[in-house]
Symmetry: C2
DNA sequence: CTGAAAGCGCTTACAG
DNA sequence: CTGAAAGCGCTTACAG
């Protein structure tokens, strides 16, 4: 910067002003500075700027996985919204309590303007670290307490309950559920509870539950069908916690020659791109991962700008009825 | 840090040493410092550290899209390898020349230890900026010149040619190609050229080419089938530049009642998870996106450590033969 | 509208 | 093994 100042014949702080507050610098001075900067190939050192100003234009996002379409959408939404506001995105993939703690620790060293987390279950040590940092926090994909600071999501259980009622309305009576492990995680459990209570209200069996590890993909649907049909031969529908399981279940029906939706219904969660393309089309809960990302970005940006904001955003969901149920 | 120093009764620089070079500090002094730090909830300010040391543990990655499984794998590989070395990942999604330039500019302000790019085609302005920054650069998913600095990938054309020869060997004679737009982009063109030259060598028609926008998903396969079958009713195979198109083509066959692989073959590129699950299983080129990410991370980390490294890494590919061809 | 001075929180030689 | 001093490249009040 001092090189630019010398080249333009002004002081360093006028150079700084020409970049940060152009309106307070005479147009001709500004022009001289900008052209000097261009000539020298000057790229401002943001590190120094942040240290001096105490402001940061970095937002960190912690996701359990990036391969999951839902989180990929959230990241895309964050990335789009943040770049519109001149913020950058620090990505940390952390799938265990330990790695989450480590990620938070190293992220905090960068003094980000905000941290976007997935879910509301974090190790007490992580929570302590997060809290005392004073950094704005957004938890995503969940809207139930405890919420650390701000949250963007929707009511997971409502969506699952609505889908269960829909399946019942279509005449299915032995409905299974394929969920994720660890089943106690609230992000997963809420869906299961919503499903079960809807079935109970309909006077139906609510214990046809199967759990697969989050690392399992399409195979989850196949495994669920095998196990649940063994437990209940009359099984006539399967609601999956993710479209991936659901599509896997559809493939399995195809292999076994089970007619969908006549003899068996499959419903998913997510409305990933494949849901509209698979044959038959997948009935599913459309979630708004992209909007979650954008909303989370907004909350952080608003907070960084010192503006008061809401701290809860419900992006909603939608039942999408296709051919599979 | 000065608080910690006071609390532990030492100077700030001993605190710094206790963290960065623990071996030169007396064990008992170190212990006193660490416990003081813990007591005060001290989190080192990495920003200040970077400014003072001129070293950065940040690596930026620029991808055209995060929804694409290939890039998601690369990012996962980068993330895993970088966190093992204490580096962090700055993610920028840029799908146009303009946004790439902007992303590079803002990334450079952070003085990263390296920048990982996708492909080898960048706007001249971007190249200039990149070059004069002196930051280590890794281009991924490509191994052909011009390469700015380092590259990790495999020979795209070889893989496509090999698949074309395989289809020919199975007896298919009117083989179409479904590629991405803009077709001139070398990352796309190399595959097409490899495919075409293999067909020509087999004495077959090489002009059954269809292009779809990169934003098109499964629909790409459907569109390719419709258009190419209109142009050549005897079309009996389709090689797709991505498994997504290929699976879309399989779904389309299912809808139209075309028997795969008896009457029609479909081959993909990527070996995404769905390739093994769809019915019939998809014959495809397995690429190593995760390894590309890990290798790119290694190159940057080695360079940051001042160690000499190779500047080209070929991670290879593999033909995976399943039921679709 | 422009500038001299202090300071952000570390690290880096260099002494002791 | 420990510390006083200078400096990384900016920004922030505060003068002029």
């Amino acid at each position: 910067m001092s090189d630019v100042a010398r080249e333009a014949g002004v002081s360093p702080m006028t150079v700084s002003n020409a970049f940060k507050r152009p309106e307070i610098v005479l147009p001709e001075t500004r022009e001289r500075i900008l052209s000097a900067a261009r000539r020298l190939g000057y790229v401002p050192n943001g590190i120094a700027g942040m240290l001096a100003s105490g402001r940061s234009n970095l937002v960190a996002v912690l996701v359990p996985s990036i391969r999951n379409s839902s989180f990929a959408r959230t990241i895309q939404g964050l990335s789009d919204a943040l770049s519109e506001h001149g913020f950058q995105l620090l990505l940390a993939v952390a799938d265990t309590a330990d790695s989450e703690f480590q990620a938070v620790e190293s992220v905090l060293a960068r003094r980000p303007a905000g941290i976007v987390l997935t879910g509301n279950e974090h190790h007490p040590d992580t929570v302590r670290l997060l809290r005392q940092s004073g950094v704005p926090l957004v938890e995503t994909w969940i809207l139930s307490e405890p919420i650390l600071d701000m949250a963007v999501g929707f009511t997971l259980g409502d969506a699952a309950g609505e889908m269960a009622r829909f399946l019942v309305s279509r005449g299915y009576r032995h409905i299974g559920f394929a969920g994720y492990l660890p089943a106690e995680r609230s992000r997963f459990l809420e869906r299961q509870r919503g499903f079960q209570s809807a079935l109970r209200q309909a006077g139906l069996r609510d214990d046809l539950i199967f759990h697969a590890d989050e690392t399992v993909g399409f195979a989850g649907g196949r495994l669920a069908m095998t196990e649940l049909r063994a437990r209940e031969p009359r099984l006539d529908a399967l609601f999956c916690v993710t479209d991936i399981f659901a599509v896997g279940a559809l493939f399995e029906c195809q292999r076994r020659g089970i007619a969908v939706p006549r003899d068996f219904a499959v419903a998913g969660y997510g409305d990933f791109e494949i849901a509209a393309e698979v044959v038959p089309g997948l009935t599913t809960v459309r979630t708004r991962g992209y909007e979650i990302g954008r909303a989370a970005a907004s909350l952080v940006v608003e907070r960084a700008a010192g503006r008061a904001t809401t701290s809860r955003v419900d992006v909603g969901y939608e039942l999408i009825i296709r051919g599979s149920a």
